[in-house]
Protein backbone atom coordinates (compact mmCIF):
# COMPACT_ATOMS: atom_id res chain seq x y z
CA UNK A 1 0.00 0.00 0.00
CA UNK A 2 1.20 3.52 -0.68
CA UNK A 3 1.09 6.49 1.67
CA UNK A 4 -2.13 7.85 0.19
CA UNK A 5 -3.94 4.61 0.90
CA UNK A 6 -2.67 4.62 4.50
CA UNK A 7 -3.95 8.14 5.04
CA UNK A 8 -7.40 7.37 3.62
CA UNK A 9 -7.56 4.26 5.80
CA UNK A 10 -6.66 6.35 8.82
CA UNK A 11 -9.45 8.78 7.88
CA UNK A 12 -11.95 5.94 7.62
CA UNK A 13 -10.99 4.54 11.02
CA UNK A 14 -11.36 7.99 12.57
CA UNK A 15 -14.81 8.47 11.04
CA UNK A 16 -15.89 5.14 12.50
CA UNK A 17 -14.56 6.17 15.88
CA UNK A 18 -16.48 9.48 15.76
CA UNK A 19 -19.72 7.73 14.83
CA UNK A 20 -19.42 5.42 17.83
CA UNK A 21 -18.75 8.40 20.11
CA UNK A 22 -21.80 10.26 18.81
CA UNK A 23 -24.10 7.48 20.01
CA UNK A 24 -23.95 9.20 23.40
CA UNK A 25 -24.49 12.83 22.46
CA UNK A 26 -25.63 14.15 25.82
CA UNK A 27 -22.70 12.58 27.63
CA UNK A 28 -20.37 14.06 25.05
CA UNK A 29 -21.67 17.59 25.45
CA UNK A 30 -21.77 17.45 29.24
CA UNK A 31 -18.30 15.96 29.43
CA UNK A 32 -16.87 18.60 27.07
CA UNK A 33 -18.41 21.44 29.02
CA UNK A 34 -17.18 20.15 32.36
CA UNK A 35 -13.70 19.43 31.00
CA UNK A 36 -13.39 23.04 29.87
CA UNK A 37 -14.62 24.32 33.22
CA UNK A 38 -12.31 22.13 35.26
CA UNK A 39 -9.26 22.90 33.17
CA UNK A 40 -9.87 26.59 33.30
CA UNK A 41 -9.66 26.38 37.10
CA UNK A 42 -5.99 25.51 36.69
CA UNK A 43 -5.34 28.71 34.82
CA UNK A 44 -7.51 30.69 37.22
CA UNK A 45 -5.27 29.55 40.04
CA UNK A 46 -2.28 31.13 38.32
CA UNK A 47 -4.27 34.11 37.06
CA UNK A 48 -5.18 34.98 40.65
CA UNK A 49 -1.51 34.96 41.62
CA UNK A 50 -0.64 37.12 38.61
CA UNK A 51 -3.50 39.47 39.36
CA UNK A 52 -2.13 39.95 42.85
CA UNK A 53 1.56 40.25 42.01
CA UNK A 54 1.55 41.51 38.40
CA UNK A 55 4.13 39.25 36.77
CA UNK A 56 6.15 36.08 37.23
CA UNK A 57 9.82 36.75 36.38
CA UNK A 58 8.72 39.59 34.13
CA UNK A 59 6.10 37.51 32.30
CA UNK A 60 2.68 39.16 32.26
CA UNK A 61 -0.68 37.44 32.63
CA UNK A 62 -1.21 37.49 28.85
CA UNK A 63 2.20 35.96 28.22
CA UNK A 64 1.69 33.16 30.74
CA UNK A 65 -1.82 32.65 29.34
CA UNK A 66 -0.24 32.25 25.93
CA UNK A 67 2.22 29.61 27.22
CA UNK A 68 -0.75 27.77 28.76
CA UNK A 69 -2.84 28.01 25.60
CA UNK A 70 -0.16 26.74 23.22
CA UNK A 71 0.58 23.83 25.55
CA UNK A 72 -3.10 22.89 25.87
CA UNK A 73 -3.76 23.09 22.13
CA UNK A 74 -0.62 21.14 21.19
CA UNK A 75 -1.48 18.46 23.70
CA UNK A 76 -5.08 18.38 22.47
CA UNK A 77 -3.96 17.92 18.89
CA UNK A 78 -1.69 15.05 19.92
CA UNK A 79 -4.31 13.38 22.08
CA UNK A 80 -7.07 13.80 19.50
CA UNK A 81 -5.13 12.01 16.80
CA UNK A 82 -3.19 9.48 18.84
CA UNK A 83 -4.83 9.06 22.23
CA UNK A 84 -4.25 5.33 22.39
CA UNK A 85 -0.50 5.80 22.31
CA UNK A 86 -0.94 7.37 25.72
CA UNK A 87 -3.08 4.42 26.77
CA UNK A 88 -0.80 1.69 25.49
CA UNK A 89 -0.56 0.26 29.01
CA UNK A 90 -4.13 -1.01 28.68
CA UNK A 91 -3.16 -3.00 25.59
CA UNK A 92 -0.02 -4.36 27.18
CA UNK A 93 -1.69 -5.48 30.40
CA UNK A 94 -4.69 -7.13 28.77
CA UNK A 95 -2.73 -8.52 25.84
CA UNK A 96 -5.04 -6.72 23.41
CA UNK A 97 -2.03 -5.65 21.39
CA UNK A 98 -1.92 -9.19 19.98
CA UNK A 99 -4.99 -8.45 17.90
CA UNK A 100 -3.45 -5.33 16.40
CA UNK A 101 -0.27 -7.22 15.54
CA UNK A 102 -2.22 -9.52 13.25
CA UNK A 103 -3.65 -6.71 11.15
CA UNK A 104 -2.09 -6.12 7.74
CA UNK A 105 -0.87 -2.63 8.61
CA UNK A 106 1.73 -0.99 10.84
CA UNK A 107 0.78 -1.46 14.51
CA UNK A 108 1.03 2.25 15.22
CA UNK A 109 -1.42 3.05 12.44
CA UNK A 110 -3.86 0.49 13.77
CA UNK A 111 -3.45 1.75 17.31
CA UNK A 112 -3.75 5.50 16.78
CA UNK A 113 -7.36 5.78 15.56
CA UNK A 114 -8.72 3.15 17.99
CA UNK A 115 -10.33 5.73 20.15
CA UNK A 116 -10.49 9.05 18.34
CA UNK A 117 -11.34 11.70 20.89
CA UNK A 118 -13.07 14.94 20.04
CA UNK A 119 -11.70 17.04 22.85
CA UNK A 120 -14.14 19.89 22.47
CA UNK A 121 -13.64 21.03 26.07
CA UNK A 122 -9.89 21.40 25.66
CA UNK A 123 -10.29 23.11 22.28
CA UNK A 124 -12.73 25.60 23.80
CA UNK A 125 -10.54 26.31 26.79
CA UNK A 126 -7.25 26.48 24.86
CA UNK A 127 -8.86 28.48 22.06
CA UNK A 128 -10.38 30.93 24.49
CA UNK A 129 -7.07 31.42 26.30
CA UNK A 130 -5.20 31.87 23.02
CA UNK A 131 -7.65 34.43 21.65
CA UNK A 132 -7.77 36.29 24.96
CA UNK A 133 -4.00 36.42 25.43
CA UNK A 134 -3.09 37.20 21.82
CA UNK A 135 -5.95 39.70 21.61
CA UNK A 136 -4.69 41.47 24.71
CA UNK A 137 -1.13 41.61 23.46
CA UNK A 138 -2.17 42.79 19.98
CA UNK A 139 -4.31 45.54 21.46
CA UNK A 140 -1.33 46.68 23.49
CA UNK A 141 0.85 46.61 20.37
CA UNK A 142 3.13 43.93 21.80
CA UNK A 143 2.56 41.59 18.85
CA UNK A 144 1.15 41.96 15.36
CA UNK A 145 -1.12 39.84 13.18
CA UNK A 146 1.76 37.62 12.17
CA UNK A 147 1.55 36.09 15.65
CA UNK A 148 -1.58 34.18 14.60
CA UNK A 149 -0.06 32.00 11.86
CA UNK A 150 3.10 31.69 13.95
CA UNK A 151 1.06 30.37 16.87
CA UNK A 152 -0.76 27.86 14.69
CA UNK A 153 2.58 26.71 13.36
CA UNK A 154 4.08 26.09 16.80
CA UNK A 155 0.92 24.30 17.93
CA UNK A 156 1.50 21.78 15.14
CA UNK A 157 5.24 21.36 15.75
CA UNK A 158 4.49 21.21 19.48
CA UNK A 159 2.01 18.41 19.04
CA UNK A 160 4.64 16.41 17.13
CA UNK A 161 7.10 16.90 19.99
CA UNK A 162 4.52 15.83 22.57
CA UNK A 163 3.53 12.85 20.46
CA UNK A 164 7.17 11.78 20.21
CA UNK A 165 7.67 12.02 23.95
CA UNK A 166 4.44 10.10 24.49
CA UNK A 167 5.48 7.43 22.02
CA UNK A 168 8.95 7.01 23.52
CA UNK A 169 7.45 6.71 27.01
CA UNK A 170 4.86 4.19 25.81
CA UNK A 171 7.60 2.17 24.11
CA UNK A 172 9.33 1.71 27.46
CA UNK A 173 6.19 -0.22 28.36
CA UNK A 174 7.41 -3.12 26.22
CA UNK A 175 9.96 -3.72 28.96
CA UNK A 176 8.12 -2.47 32.04
CA UNK A 177 4.45 -3.17 31.09
CA UNK A 178 3.27 -0.43 33.47
CA UNK A 179 3.91 3.07 32.20
CA UNK A 180 1.41 5.38 33.88
CA UNK A 181 3.82 6.41 36.64
CA UNK A 182 6.47 7.27 34.08
CA UNK A 183 3.95 9.18 31.95
CA UNK A 184 3.20 11.25 34.99
CA UNK A 185 6.75 12.55 34.83
CA UNK A 186 7.50 12.70 31.10
CA UNK A 187 4.10 13.92 29.94
CA UNK A 188 2.18 15.52 32.80
CA UNK A 189 4.90 17.07 34.93
CA UNK A 190 7.01 18.17 31.96
CA UNK A 191 3.94 19.66 30.27
CA UNK A 192 3.01 21.53 33.42
CA UNK A 193 6.53 22.86 33.88
CA UNK A 194 6.62 24.68 30.54
CA UNK A 195 3.40 26.53 31.21
CA UNK A 196 5.70 28.90 33.08
CA UNK A 197 8.92 30.59 31.92
CA UNK A 198 11.83 28.19 32.16
CA UNK A 199 13.96 30.80 33.92
CA UNK A 200 12.06 29.91 37.10
CA UNK A 201 13.75 26.56 37.35
CA UNK A 202 17.26 25.47 38.29
CA UNK A 203 19.69 25.09 35.41
CA UNK A 204 19.65 21.27 35.37
CA UNK A 205 15.90 21.26 35.04
CA UNK A 206 15.59 23.82 32.25
CA UNK A 207 18.37 21.98 30.37
CA UNK A 208 16.46 18.73 30.76
CA UNK A 209 13.30 20.36 29.40
CA UNK A 210 15.18 21.51 26.31
CA UNK A 211 17.08 18.30 25.57
CA UNK A 212 15.93 14.91 26.82
CA UNK A 213 12.30 16.02 27.16
CA UNK A 214 12.24 18.87 24.63
CA UNK A 215 8.90 20.34 25.76
CA UNK A 216 10.57 23.75 26.00
CA UNK A 217 10.38 23.90 22.20
CA UNK A 218 6.61 23.45 22.25
CA UNK A 219 5.85 26.88 23.65
CA UNK A 220 8.59 28.59 25.64
CA UNK A 221 11.39 28.97 23.05
CA UNK A 222 9.12 30.09 20.17
CA UNK A 223 7.26 32.47 22.53
CA UNK A 224 10.48 34.26 23.33
CA UNK A 225 10.51 35.41 19.70
CA UNK A 226 6.78 35.65 18.95
CA UNK A 227 5.89 37.64 22.06
CA UNK A 228 9.10 39.35 23.05
CA UNK A 229 11.24 39.62 19.91
CA UNK A 230 14.13 37.84 21.64
CA UNK A 231 16.33 35.25 19.89
CA UNK A 232 15.33 35.40 16.18
CA UNK A 233 13.08 33.95 13.49
CA UNK A 234 15.29 30.86 13.57
CA UNK A 235 13.20 29.65 16.52
CA UNK A 236 10.66 28.32 14.00
CA UNK A 237 13.33 26.23 12.33
CA UNK A 238 14.48 25.12 15.78
CA UNK A 239 10.95 24.06 16.73
CA UNK A 240 10.62 22.11 13.48
CA UNK A 241 14.02 20.52 14.00
CA UNK A 242 13.14 19.54 17.57
CA UNK A 243 9.90 18.01 16.27
CA UNK A 244 11.60 16.19 13.39
CA UNK A 245 14.47 14.83 15.45
CA UNK A 246 12.31 13.67 18.34
CA UNK A 247 9.82 12.05 15.98
CA UNK A 248 12.54 10.19 14.11
CA UNK A 249 14.18 9.00 17.31
CA UNK A 250 10.96 7.89 18.97
CA UNK A 251 9.73 6.04 15.85
CA UNK A 252 13.02 4.23 15.69
CA UNK A 253 12.78 3.37 19.37
CA UNK A 254 9.19 2.16 18.90
CA UNK A 255 10.23 -0.12 16.03
CA UNK A 256 12.94 -1.60 18.19
CA UNK A 257 10.70 -1.83 21.26
CA UNK A 258 7.92 -3.69 19.51
CA UNK A 259 10.28 -6.53 18.69
CA UNK A 260 10.60 -7.02 22.46
CA UNK A 261 6.85 -7.29 23.00
CA UNK A 262 5.73 -10.21 25.07
CA UNK A 263 2.02 -10.74 25.39
CA UNK A 264 0.39 -10.64 28.79
CA UNK A 265 -3.10 -11.21 30.06
CA UNK A 266 -5.41 -14.01 29.12
Amino acid sequence: MNHKAWISLYGLLIRTSIRSRMQYKFNFILASFLAALIQISEFLMVAIVLHKFGAIQGWSMYEIGYLFAVMILSKTLYRTLADEVHHLEKYLVTGDLDQLLTRPMPVLLALMPQNFRIMLGEVLQGGFLLIWSLGGMMAAGQTGWEAIPQSLYIIVTGSIILFSIGLATATLGFWTTRISELQNITEDAAGTAVRYPLTLYPKWMSTLLLTLLPVGFVNYVPSLYILRGELGPWVFAAAAAAAGISLALSLRFWKYGITKYQSAGS
Binding site: N27, L30, A31, I38, S41, V49, Q57, E181, A189, Y196
Partner: protein
Protein backbone atom coordinates in the same frame (compact mmCIF):
# COMPACT_ATOMS: atom_id res chain seq x y z
CA UNK B 1 -12.96 -4.97 65.24
CA UNK B 2 -14.72 -5.46 61.92
CA UNK B 3 -13.95 -1.90 60.92
CA UNK B 4 -10.34 -2.34 61.89
CA UNK B 5 -10.10 -5.46 59.72
CA UNK B 6 -11.63 -3.61 56.77
CA UNK B 7 -9.14 -0.79 57.20
CA UNK B 8 -6.13 -3.06 57.59
CA UNK B 9 -7.14 -5.06 54.50
CA UNK B 10 -7.29 -1.88 52.43
CA UNK B 11 -3.92 -0.91 53.84
CA UNK B 12 -2.19 -4.19 53.10
CA UNK B 13 -3.66 -4.45 49.60
CA UNK B 14 -1.73 -1.29 48.76
CA UNK B 15 1.50 -2.67 50.14
CA UNK B 16 1.72 -4.87 47.04
CA UNK B 17 2.28 -1.81 44.90
CA UNK B 18 4.85 -0.02 47.03
CA UNK B 19 7.46 0.03 44.24
CA UNK B 20 5.16 1.65 41.68
CA UNK B 21 3.93 4.11 44.30
CA UNK B 22 7.48 5.19 45.08
CA UNK B 23 8.04 6.02 41.38
CA UNK B 24 4.76 7.87 41.41
CA UNK B 25 6.01 9.82 44.43
CA UNK B 26 8.83 11.18 42.28
CA UNK B 27 6.26 12.59 39.84
CA UNK B 28 4.22 14.03 42.71
CA UNK B 29 7.31 15.59 44.22
CA UNK B 30 8.13 17.17 40.86
CA UNK B 31 4.77 18.93 40.78
CA UNK B 32 5.32 20.45 44.22
CA UNK B 33 8.82 21.39 43.14
CA UNK B 34 7.39 23.33 40.16
CA UNK B 35 4.95 25.19 42.39
CA UNK B 36 7.69 25.99 44.87
CA UNK B 37 9.89 27.31 42.03
CA UNK B 38 7.08 29.65 40.99
CA UNK B 39 6.86 31.07 44.50
CA UNK B 40 10.66 31.35 44.73
CA UNK B 41 10.54 33.26 41.43
CA UNK B 42 7.81 35.54 42.76
CA UNK B 43 9.63 35.94 46.05
CA UNK B 44 12.65 37.33 44.18
CA UNK B 45 10.56 40.31 43.00
CA UNK B 46 7.94 40.76 45.72
CA UNK B 47 7.63 40.30 49.46
CA UNK B 48 5.26 37.47 50.10
CA UNK B 49 3.27 38.86 53.02
CA UNK B 50 3.55 37.20 56.41
CA UNK B 51 4.93 34.03 54.80
CA UNK B 52 8.05 35.27 53.06
CA UNK B 53 9.66 33.16 50.33
CA UNK B 54 10.80 30.38 52.66
CA UNK B 55 7.37 30.38 54.30
CA UNK B 56 5.62 29.94 50.95
CA UNK B 57 7.98 27.11 50.06
CA UNK B 58 7.08 25.41 53.36
CA UNK B 59 3.42 26.13 52.61
CA UNK B 60 3.65 24.34 49.24
CA UNK B 61 5.68 21.48 50.72
CA UNK B 62 3.10 20.83 53.41
CA UNK B 63 0.05 21.13 51.13
CA UNK B 64 1.62 18.80 48.57
CA UNK B 65 2.22 16.18 51.25
CA UNK B 66 -1.19 16.75 52.86
CA UNK B 67 -2.99 16.26 49.53
CA UNK B 68 -2.54 12.51 49.92
CA UNK B 69 -4.46 12.57 53.14
CA UNK B 70 -7.13 15.14 52.54
CA UNK B 71 -7.85 15.10 48.86
CA UNK B 72 -6.59 12.09 46.90
CA UNK B 73 -9.09 9.59 48.25
CA UNK B 74 -10.73 6.85 46.17
CA UNK B 75 -13.08 8.26 43.53
CA UNK B 76 -16.55 8.15 45.09
CA UNK B 77 -15.17 5.59 47.60
CA UNK B 78 -15.56 3.01 44.86
CA UNK B 79 -19.36 3.31 44.73
CA UNK B 80 -19.55 4.29 41.02
CA UNK B 81 -17.68 1.12 40.16
CA UNK B 82 -19.91 -1.10 42.27
CA UNK B 83 -22.99 0.51 40.72
CA UNK B 84 -21.61 -0.37 37.32
CA UNK B 85 -20.93 -3.99 38.26
CA UNK B 86 -24.09 -4.37 40.31
CA UNK B 87 -22.08 -5.05 43.43
CA UNK B 88 -23.83 -2.19 45.19
CA UNK B 89 -26.94 -4.31 45.84
CA UNK B 90 -24.82 -6.78 47.80
CA UNK B 91 -23.07 -3.99 49.67
CA UNK B 92 -26.41 -2.59 50.77
CA UNK B 93 -27.58 -6.00 51.95
CA UNK B 94 -24.69 -6.42 54.36
CA UNK B 95 -25.43 -6.10 58.07
CA UNK B 96 -23.00 -3.17 58.17
CA UNK B 97 -23.99 0.37 57.34
CA UNK B 98 -22.74 1.28 53.86
CA UNK B 99 -21.26 4.59 55.03
CA UNK B 100 -19.24 3.18 57.93
CA UNK B 101 -18.22 0.15 55.89
CA UNK B 102 -16.78 2.23 53.06
CA UNK B 103 -15.33 4.72 55.48
CA UNK B 104 -13.40 2.05 57.38
CA UNK B 105 -11.95 0.83 54.11
CA UNK B 106 -10.96 4.34 53.13
CA UNK B 107 -9.22 5.00 56.44
CA UNK B 108 -6.95 2.06 55.64
CA UNK B 109 -6.24 3.59 52.27
CA UNK B 110 -5.51 6.98 53.82
CA UNK B 111 -3.24 5.46 56.46
CA UNK B 112 -1.26 3.83 53.68
CA UNK B 113 -1.05 7.03 51.68
CA UNK B 114 0.06 8.95 54.74
CA UNK B 115 2.94 6.55 55.40
CA UNK B 116 4.00 5.82 51.83
CA UNK B 117 3.14 9.05 50.05
CA UNK B 118 2.84 12.05 52.38
CA UNK B 119 5.86 11.24 54.50
CA UNK B 120 8.32 10.36 51.68
CA UNK B 121 7.22 13.44 49.71
CA UNK B 122 7.64 15.65 52.78
CA UNK B 123 11.08 14.17 53.49
CA UNK B 124 12.19 14.94 49.91
CA UNK B 125 11.10 18.56 50.29
CA UNK B 126 12.61 18.77 53.76
CA UNK B 127 16.06 18.18 52.29
CA UNK B 128 15.52 19.79 48.87
CA UNK B 129 14.29 23.08 50.34
CA UNK B 130 16.06 22.90 53.75
CA UNK B 131 12.73 23.26 55.53
CA UNK B 132 12.58 23.81 59.25
CA UNK B 133 10.38 21.67 61.42
CA UNK B 134 7.67 23.52 63.44
CA UNK B 135 9.21 25.01 66.54
CA UNK B 136 6.40 24.02 68.91
CA UNK B 137 4.86 20.63 69.40
CA UNK B 138 1.41 22.21 69.69
CA UNK B 139 1.61 23.42 66.06
CA UNK B 140 2.08 19.84 64.94
CA UNK B 141 -0.72 18.53 67.16
CA UNK B 142 -3.20 21.08 65.81
CA UNK B 143 -2.04 20.45 62.24
CA UNK B 144 -2.48 16.70 62.82
CA UNK B 145 -5.95 17.15 64.30
CA UNK B 146 -7.19 19.39 61.53
CA UNK B 147 -5.66 17.08 58.93
CA UNK B 148 -7.49 14.09 60.42
CA UNK B 149 -10.69 16.15 60.24
CA UNK B 150 -9.85 17.03 56.65
CA UNK B 151 -9.44 13.35 55.78
CA UNK B 152 -12.83 12.63 57.35
CA UNK B 153 -14.49 15.47 55.39
CA UNK B 154 -12.91 14.22 52.21
CA UNK B 155 -14.30 10.74 52.85
CA UNK B 156 -17.78 12.25 53.34
CA UNK B 157 -17.52 14.38 50.18
CA UNK B 158 -16.45 11.37 48.15
CA UNK B 159 -19.21 9.27 49.65
CA UNK B 160 -21.70 11.84 48.38
CA UNK B 161 -20.01 11.89 44.97
CA UNK B 162 -20.21 8.11 44.92
CA UNK B 163 -23.87 8.15 45.95
CA UNK B 164 -24.66 10.35 42.95
CA UNK B 165 -23.65 7.40 40.75
CA UNK B 166 -27.04 5.88 41.52
CA UNK B 167 -28.66 8.75 39.67
CA UNK B 168 -26.15 9.55 36.93
CA UNK B 169 -23.47 7.73 34.96
CA UNK B 170 -21.37 10.89 34.92
CA UNK B 171 -20.44 10.99 38.60
CA UNK B 172 -16.74 10.99 37.80
CA UNK B 173 -17.17 14.58 36.67
CA UNK B 174 -18.20 15.50 40.18
CA UNK B 175 -14.95 13.95 41.33
CA UNK B 176 -12.99 16.15 38.96
CA UNK B 177 -15.15 19.12 39.83
CA UNK B 178 -14.27 18.51 43.46
CA UNK B 179 -10.60 18.58 42.49
CA UNK B 180 -11.06 21.85 40.65
CA UNK B 181 -12.63 23.32 43.80
CA UNK B 182 -9.69 22.06 45.85
CA UNK B 183 -7.30 23.72 43.37
CA UNK B 184 -9.08 26.99 43.69
CA UNK B 185 -10.67 27.24 47.13
CA UNK B 186 -8.67 24.98 49.44
CA UNK B 187 -5.46 26.99 49.35
CA UNK B 188 -3.77 24.31 47.25
CA UNK B 189 -1.42 26.76 45.51
CA UNK B 190 -2.38 30.18 46.80
CA UNK B 191 -3.29 31.00 50.41
CA UNK B 192 -7.00 31.72 50.77
CA UNK B 193 -6.46 35.30 52.02
CA UNK B 194 -4.86 36.22 48.69
CA UNK B 195 -7.91 35.22 46.67
CA UNK B 196 -10.12 38.06 45.42
CA UNK B 197 -12.55 39.00 48.16
CA UNK B 198 -15.69 37.56 46.55
CA UNK B 199 -13.93 34.24 46.02
CA UNK B 200 -12.70 34.25 49.61
CA UNK B 201 -16.28 34.69 50.76
CA UNK B 202 -17.38 31.73 48.68
CA UNK B 203 -14.45 29.66 49.95
CA UNK B 204 -15.28 30.26 53.62
CA UNK B 205 -18.89 29.22 53.03
CA UNK B 206 -17.60 25.83 51.87
CA UNK B 207 -15.59 23.11 53.65
CA UNK B 208 -12.70 23.50 51.21
CA UNK B 209 -10.35 25.80 53.19
CA UNK B 210 -10.48 23.25 56.02
CA UNK B 211 -9.05 20.56 53.75
CA UNK B 212 -5.63 22.13 53.17
CA UNK B 213 -5.38 25.76 54.16
CA UNK B 214 -6.28 25.37 57.84
CA UNK B 215 -3.92 22.40 58.53
CA UNK B 216 -1.13 24.21 56.68
CA UNK B 217 -1.59 27.39 58.72
CA UNK B 218 -1.29 25.32 61.89
CA UNK B 219 1.85 23.67 60.57
CA UNK B 220 3.39 27.08 59.84
CA UNK B 221 2.49 28.24 63.33
CA UNK B 222 0.09 30.88 61.96
CA UNK B 223 -3.23 29.17 62.70
CA UNK B 224 -5.69 30.06 65.42
CA UNK B 225 -7.12 27.21 67.47
CA UNK B 226 -10.68 28.40 66.88
CA UNK B 227 -10.38 27.16 63.28
CA UNK B 228 -10.73 23.63 64.69
CA UNK B 229 -14.37 24.47 65.47
CA UNK B 230 -14.89 24.99 61.76
CA UNK B 231 -13.39 21.57 61.07
CA UNK B 232 -15.69 20.02 63.66
CA UNK B 233 -18.74 21.85 62.28
CA UNK B 234 -18.16 20.58 58.74
CA UNK B 235 -17.43 17.03 59.95
CA UNK B 236 -20.76 16.92 61.79
CA UNK B 237 -22.73 18.52 58.97
CA UNK B 238 -21.26 16.26 56.29
CA UNK B 239 -21.87 13.17 58.43
CA UNK B 240 -25.52 14.13 58.76
CA UNK B 241 -25.85 14.61 55.01
CA UNK B 242 -24.14 11.28 54.34
CA UNK B 243 -26.51 9.42 56.65
CA UNK B 244 -29.51 11.16 55.12
CA UNK B 245 -28.37 10.30 51.60
CA UNK B 246 -27.82 6.66 52.57
CA UNK B 247 -31.48 6.51 53.62
CA UNK B 248 -32.64 7.81 50.24
CA UNK B 249 -30.14 5.64 48.43
CA UNK B 250 -31.47 2.43 49.97
CA UNK B 251 -34.79 3.05 48.26
CA UNK B 252 -33.20 3.94 44.96
CA UNK B 253 -30.87 1.07 44.21
CA UNK B 254 -30.24 0.83 40.54
CA UNK B 255 -27.55 -1.27 38.97
CA UNK B 256 -26.12 -0.60 35.55
CA UNK B 257 -24.58 -3.97 34.92
CA UNK B 258 -24.94 -7.45 36.18
Amino acid sequence: MLYFTLASKAYSRNLQYRGAHMIHNIASAVFGFLYACIWIGLGADYTLGEYGTQGMVSYIAFTQAALWVSSFVTNGLGIPQSVRTGHISLDLMRPVHLFTHLMAREWGQIAYQFLYKSIPIYVVYYFAFSLTFPSQLSFLVYAGLSLAGAAYMSICINYLIGASALWTTESSWLYWGNHAMINLLAGFFIPVEWLPEWLQNIAWLSPYPYLLYVPTRFYLGLGSVSALWGTLFWCVLLTAVCLLVTGVLRRKVEVQGG
